[in-house]
């Protein structure tokens, strides 16, 4: 069974569109994260949720809106996509909050904005 899954794995879209990426974990973890990895492989934390509550929001444009309907899911909605949003987005989860324990990553969603 996949521990952390993301859909879709690939996403190609036009500038200005709105898109969503879904993440689900079946590990029973309390904390979930979204990371962005740019074309130079630089990783950056975007958001973290603990038991459906937003605990970290790292200067991400408000076009990005995470939503956690329950603690097993953390979705990322992106409005008015821009070329600079092209990246790989990783979802992760951990048992404890804010990086205190091992994180488990999803396979990533490769977003290309044309």
């Amino acid at each position: 069974d996949t521990a952390v899954s993301q859909t879709p794995k690939y996403l190609v879209t036009q500038m200005g569109n709105d898109k969503s990426i879904k993440c689900e974990q079946n590990l029973g973890h309390d904390t979930m994260y979204w990371y962005k990895q740019d074309s130079k492989k630089f990783l950056k934390i975007m958001f973290s949720y603990n038991n459906k509550e937003l605990i970290i929001n790292e200067t991400v444009p408000n076009r990005f809106s995470p939503k956690s309907p329950d603690k097993a899911h953390l979705n990322l909605h992106i409005n008015s996509l821009e070329l600079g949003d092209s990246a790989v987005y990783f979802c992760a989860s951990s048992q404890a909050g804010a990086w205190q324990e091992t994180q488990y990553f999803g396979p990533g969603t490769r977003l290309l904005v044309l």
């Binding site: 492989k41 630089f42 990783l43 950056k44 970290i56 992760a92 990086w99 994180q103 488990y104 990553f105």
Partner: protein, 109 residues
């Protein structure tokens, strides 16, 4: 904000060799983690190691928080060790996890 520097940026090894990757950081930290990203892009969290030494198989990590560095040791390297190794820290003064730029490791058969 805190600065994280990893060295070397690139490393090429023959299978069976040992290696040491270094992570220097500019401020005191209460969290340090090592990650491996394989050539297919999958990320794995190797160690949570804000201080001390941990071992997991052929990999071990040591963090000397007072001197602001951490080392990742890979012994008897295998081709499956290839990929990028990232260090990430959380400064004591903040809540953000900041990543280094990574070390690209290639292990040749």
């Amino acid at each position: 904000g805190i600065q994280v520097e990893q060295s070397p940026p690139d490393l090429i090894l023959q299978e069976g060799a040992n290696s040491t990757l270094r992570c220097n950081f500019s401020d005191s930290v209460n969290n340090l983690q090592w990650f491996h990203q394989n050539p297919w892009g999958q990320l794995i969290n190797l160690f949570y190691i804000p201080s001390g030494t941990k071992q997991n198989g052929r990999l071990s990590a040591t963090t000397v928080a007072t001197e602001r560095y951490s080392l990742l040791y890979i012994s008897s390297s295998q081709t499956t060790d290839s990929g990028v190794y990232f260090c990430a820290v959380e400064a004591t003064s903040g809540s953000r996890l900041t990543f280094g730029e990574g070390t690209q490791l290639t292990v040749n058969p």
